[in-house]
Amino acid sequence: MNLQFIADGLISGSLIGLGAIGVTLTYSILRFSNFAHGDLMAWGAYAALTVLGAISALLGTVAPIGMLSFGWPLVVAALVAMALVGGMALLLDWVLFARLRAKGQSIIVVMASFGASMALRSLLEFSFTSKPEYFSRAIQMALPVGFGIRVTPDQVAMLLVTLVLVTSMHLFMSRSQTGREMRAYSQNPALARVVGIDVARIVRATWLIGGALACAAGIMVGVLVQIRPLMGLDMLLPMFAAAILGGIGSIPGAVLAGLIIGLSEAAAVQLIGAEWRAGAAFVILMAVLLIRPAGLFGVSER
């Protein structure tokens, strides 16, 4: 049996997990499932592409780093794009979500995120057309790493970046003051207000972090696969499934569940056929909802 699917599954799973962190944070702190999260990913990828285009127009082509397909301009573009998408998430909240949250019906906010998602995605299609784009068209050789598995240098780099991002997220949530306040607010909003936690600041932090991580995941999908306006929509179901499987609010849970879903998708490709890949996330989602709705690390709602 070819073990390649394990490597593929881990790589796509880590991207799903990275996106799912944003979904789970939004859900546990702002109390709604954000259907526009996938589109933040797609916007991130296109923002990085635009910045990258500007850099290479100014400075000409820059040699790639080592064996990777990209050079430092992409790293700079990624950082700029993360800031932009974080800002965009804040703007969306200010224009739309915050006003609806104030009315108190959380399902209306979900609907607004659905409308915003459709508008954001179509705006990308309008500006960039639905033709796929790439950060680099260079072909990368996959190197054997044993057990019949081959990986490209880009894939290894993205896996490392994900590891760094997830670890720093975990440290941020468990060690920093803001992170602790965010967790406190998600567990008991009323009590958090009583002890003087600045809720507006928590909300801003949530959008900034969620947007920036979505952007990072979008750029990585762009590096490893391609950039399309629909890329975020295609990731939405796996990300929701990962957030629920991991237990709403749990960051390690989201990442682990992302890996599980990535592996199951890869297994579905290997065993059933590539066209059924997207079904894996749905099967897992239904199984979790029927068997253990609280997820792996979640606490059941009272």
Partner: protein
């Protein structure tokens, strides 16, 4: 002039079919407060059920049942209602967001099945030769269009009256009570979960019926008819019309569909060919922004009448 009349009949038939879907959503959302983001999936289930059961034999997929059209419609309602009921059963004891996420998943999976299960659905090429009511009139397009309009209008009227009756019945009162004050309704001995599953299943069945009627109206279906854009249009129609009112749902549908078709004709007349795809995208942006603006400034829509607090 005759052409114009024929077109008017065609436009109205299309709008009324969408109106039936919106009526189904109004039962789920307007009356019961259940969020369905997989409308396109449920419509597709109905369309494919009826199409597979009524078409003549085809070489590359199951078929050749040759059922009468009406039997196909009834089966479409039954299967779609069952699918919606199962979705509700799995999620309605949980938080409302889980239903939304699951219906989204249902639409994704239905899209997968219609595209890939070629032996059942014909794959990307879809199902053709779906029998059309009054096919014998097809020689004279105007008569054919009006005959179809009469069929669609009759179905719409029946669905409308049935839903109006349901929403005034004791059953509908329980749904409204659950939406307004769940605890009070439960304390009167009404099972929230069971009523919600029923409402979701019936709403789904109505969507499935609309899908089937549409399939037989056009005579051909393909996976591309059931993209998320459809879900989104239906939501815009219900929100413009005013959630909670069946009359509003129908009026909202006709208004939004007229805007949509008008904007489409306008842009295809003015925009150069290579910009067509882009202006189509811009149309969706406009509807998305409109949906958000309505949610912000006029959450009760325009035609629904005032809902008492």
């Amino acid at each position: 002039m005759i052409d114009l009349l024929g077109y008017a009949a065609f436009f109205l038939s299309t709008a009324l079919i969408l109106g039936i879907i919106t009526l189904g959503l109004n039962l789920q959302w307007g009356l019961t407060g259940l969020f369905n983001v997989g409308i396109a999936g449920f419509v597709a289930i109905g369309a494919y059920t009826s199409a597979i059961l009524t078409t003549p034999e085809a070489a590359d997929r199951v078929g050749g049942f040759g059922w009468p059209i009406l039997a196909g419609w009834v089966a479409a309602m039954a299967i779609t209602g069952l699918a919606a009921g199962l979705t509700g059963f799995a999620t309605l004891r949980l938080k409302s967001d889980y239903l939304a996420i699951t219906t989204f998943g249902v639409a994704v999976v239905v899209q997968l099945v219609t595209l890939n299960a070629q032996g059942l659905t014909g794959g990307p090429f879809g199902v053709a030769f779906i029998p059309r009511p009054f096919a014998s009139l097809a020689e004279t397009p105007v008569a054919f269009n009006f005959a179809n309009l009469a069929v669609v209008a009759a179905v719409t009227l029946v669905v409308y009256l049935a839903l109006e009756h349901l929403s005034r019945s004791p059953w509908g009162r329980v749904l409204r009570a659950l939406r307004e004050d769940e605890r009070a309704a439960i304390s009167l001995g009404k099972s929230a979960k069971s009523y919600r599953i029923q409402a979701f299943a019936i709403g789904g069945a109505v969507m499935g019926l609309a899908g089937a009627v549409q399939a037989h109206f056009i005579g051909f279906i393909a996976p591309n008819n059931y993209l998320p854009t459809l879900t989104f249009q239906i939501w815009a129609m219900l929100m413009v019309g005013g959630a909670g009112s069946n009359r509003g749902a129908l009026l909202g549908t006709i208004v939004v569909w007229a805007i949509w078709v008008g904007a489409g004709a306008f842009s295809s007349a003015l925009a150069p060919t290579d910009w067509q795809a882009r202006t189509a995208a811009l149309q969706i942006v406009a509807i998305g922004v409109m949906l958000c603006v309505i949610l912000l400034v006029r959450p009760n829509g325009f035609f629904g009448g005032r809902r008492r607090k």
